[in-house]
């Protein structure tokens, strides 16, 4: 969620169990402003918290004018000092899937994963390959994966200009109550995957400036999002069941929306069993 109104916006996700202590709020309010200035960002978002064993990581993201590109991720253990995370490459993502267990809280910790390589004849006497994964890399990959899988925005909150830049829509007035009850009014904030495969007939009704992202309705498995109205119909909360701990909120009829992740950083692979 936007860092500018953080102390107010954090109340919206409170019903999912996400709260910040007063001291964390105080520290974040100051340090995020400094981060924004030093990094020359257009906006800084408080991304969330990843809980570790010894310590938790607070994550913030800074973006330029074009919100889809050039996202820089920062982490901090005490909300005061921020460190830049390396961007996640494909190799890093593959490797970090092998690391098991929770984050320890020490960024220089190395997870070890041993694999036995079998020779082609099927003999068991293979070499043992130990892959070490640094916690920083794992953190960066997990954050990238969460963004890729579940980061969502309301429809028409962002506009794609003809030269391909994605900007915030200044005339976005918010979704109505009936629109916010439907999953198709929310879109994944990433490069589209399903959009290309749609038939021309389906694409005819879409507006190219607004509908350039995948909607939530095509998510597999169906039911991996929990949509709830809080305060009667005054606040709509979407919780992801794939990454437990990701919460998106929107106040229907107003421009307020945001999302936050507070969790272990573990994907819920048992989701098909649980629905």
């Amino acid at each position: 969620m936007d860092s500018e109104g953080l102390h107010l916006n954090i109340d919206y996700v409170g019903s999912s169990g996400i709260i910040l202590s007063p001291e964390q709020k105080a520290a974040l309010q100051t340090s995020l402003v400094i981060l924004k200035n030093s990094g020359k960002f257009h906006r800084v978002y408080f991304w969330g918290k990843i809980l570790g064993v010894k310590d938790d990581y607070f994550i913030a993201q800074g973006v330029g004018r074009d919100e889809m590109e050039n996202r820089k991720t920062f982490y901090s253990k005490d909300c005061v000092h921020w460190g830049l995370l390396p961007p996640a490459t494909k190799a890093m993502k593959e490797q970090s899937k092998l690391a098991k267990g929770r984050f320890t809280g020490d960024p220089s910790y190395e997870f070890e994963h041993t694999e036995q390589k079998k020779t082609e004849d099927g003999e068991e006497a293979g070499e043992e390959e130990t892959i070490t994964i640094k916690e920083e890399d794992r953190l960066s990959s997990v954050i990238a994966e969460i963004d890729e899988d579940v980061k969502i925005v309301p429809r028409s909150a962002f506009i794609k200009t003809p030269d391909g830049k994605v900007n915030g829509n200044r005339s976005f007035e918010g979704l109505s109550v009936s629109e916010s009850a439907k999953l198709c009014s929310y879109m994944h904030f990433r490069d589209p995957i399903n959009l290309e495969e749609k038939s021309l007939l389906q694409k005819a009704n879409l507006d190219k400036a607004i509908d350039f992202m995948d909607t939530l309705e095509e998510d597999i498995p169906k039911g991996s999002w929990s949509l709830q109205f809080e305060r009667g119909s005054g606040l709509v909360t979407l919780r992801s069941l794939l990454w437990l701990g990701y919460v998106f909120y929107h106040v229907p009829g107003s421009r307020l929306y945001g999302s936050c992740y507070v969790g272990n950083g573990e994907k819920n692979l048992d989701l098909p069993f649980m629905l």
């Binding site: 019903s15 005490d78 009667g232 069993f273 649980m274």
Partner: protein, 591 residues
Amino acid sequence: MFVLQPSPGRIYEMKGESRKVKGRSTVPHDETVSEEPPSSPQRYEEEEGEGFRELSPGEQRCVNAKLFLMREGSEIDGQNLYNHLSALLTKVLTEKSEESLSRLEDASKTFKREKFTYKEPFIRDNPGKTPSEVLAHSQWQMMKTACGDPKFIPNECFDLPDEDEEDVYRLIPNLVKQAQFFEQAGVGLPREEFIRVSIAMRELVESWPIESLRFWGKILGTRKNYYVVEAEFKDGEYESDLSDDEGEDDKSSNDKIEDSMIFDDDSTTVTDDIKPFYKPPPRIPCESMGTGLNKHVYFVCNEPGLPWTRLPHVSPAQIVAARKIRRFLTGDLNEHIVSHPPFPGLEKNYLRAQVARISAATTVSPIGYFRFDDNEEEEDTEESGSNGRNTCIIDQEFEGMPLRDLCDPTGQTWCHHMQSVLPQGRNTWFNPMEGKSGEAGDEDSEEEERNEPDEPEPEVGPPLLTPVSEDQPILESPAWIPRISSRLVPEFAVAILQSNTWPGSWSFGADRGRYFTSLYIGWGQKNLGGAFEPEIPPDVMEEFPSGPEITEGDDPSPEEESAFKAALADKEFDAEFGEDQAEEETSDVDD
């Protein structure tokens, strides 16, 4: 077209204005101009004076004309032509301007616009209550009843020793204080929710015989959420609503027996050898009311303000089944759970089972706060069996421990004060053989010593008040993570304990460990460490038992079949060839 004509016998005069018109005794007629008003008072006088009389045809036409003009137009509500014309004419005559004729239409339009009256339809739209209104209404009701006289200050503020016995509201825990500590640690729910739950708890103390109350936490569901409150009833107040569950279980087991009897009845096609081997496992009963897992009673509601529902008691079979399945809660208590192995109950039973598991695993307290009661008699300790003591009391002499000890990362300073759940699904071991023979429970120890081979091994759980460092770790991370809540102001921080086995369970300890409580906020799922492995269905029963008469064999594979056929063909060929050869040989011999 109806035209007003002056009747010969009457002179139509406008009151006081006719002198302006020169050279005419009658004003030229314009259909839009009405000339009725001056004549009507005349007629009235006549009628009043003379009573009802027949109108002359001229007068009749006059009256018809007037009535026509007074008829309401359909486009202009509440307006009729008569009023409009009279108003227009009045305006023209009062203004006495030269431009009246050219501005006549404009004046008429202005009148129409300004005179527009909207008649409210008698039936008003009722937009209905939005969900916000419904919720706000129920919460407002709750707050209205709770809102007392501001001049009344309850006794608790002054810590007067004579507590009013009838004041049940003192049982409500100080959620505001807890909210503050949880917020300091950065966990929990917003303070407003704590307040709402606290007010909603009043309803509970008013209607149930509660001895102690605790806000257990919030379980998130896919459609709706649950707020759970844990309560202990006063002694002797535990009603048994097990009777419903028992009836259902009996019915279902009866069905099973009937199914298996099908084989016996239709014995025409089926021999006696194929009775199913399956024997359902012995049914393990609940512990007695008010003890063990059912010591606490749980109430849930979807939102504070909505009515509370009491969760039914939990049975061991449900705990065992709940361990094997992994499900999200939907938020609807009467939802069916379709799973493998089949869960014996609805969502409310599953919820109760999860709540029981979480409570048993995550209710912790600083070591030393609770202690065993040394005054317990010997018989009691034996009766509780090999599990050790199952009750503990508050140690009045607990001095507390410094914050650094409470935050000890190994977790040695916190201990469980609720009994753990055995694999059987109960807190205390129940010997199923015992139930059959009908022996009393206090001969338990003797039976264990005998330990006959067909008797199941008694299950033993960790004794009460074991430190949390003894809990099983998950993969490589410890089961419990204690931490200090603040970095910037450590002098006034609290210790916060986070559970790794049940992510979402938080406990804090403040005031040197003398003030502590636990809270659960999460989805109600255990941290398995790895992937969830569902139970595999049992093996398919063999249709016929293998024996000397009947043996099951595999069908030959295509290669085997073709090889056999080839061998058979060869044999036949050999046989034929052998005959031919024999013939040839004989023929040879002949030749």
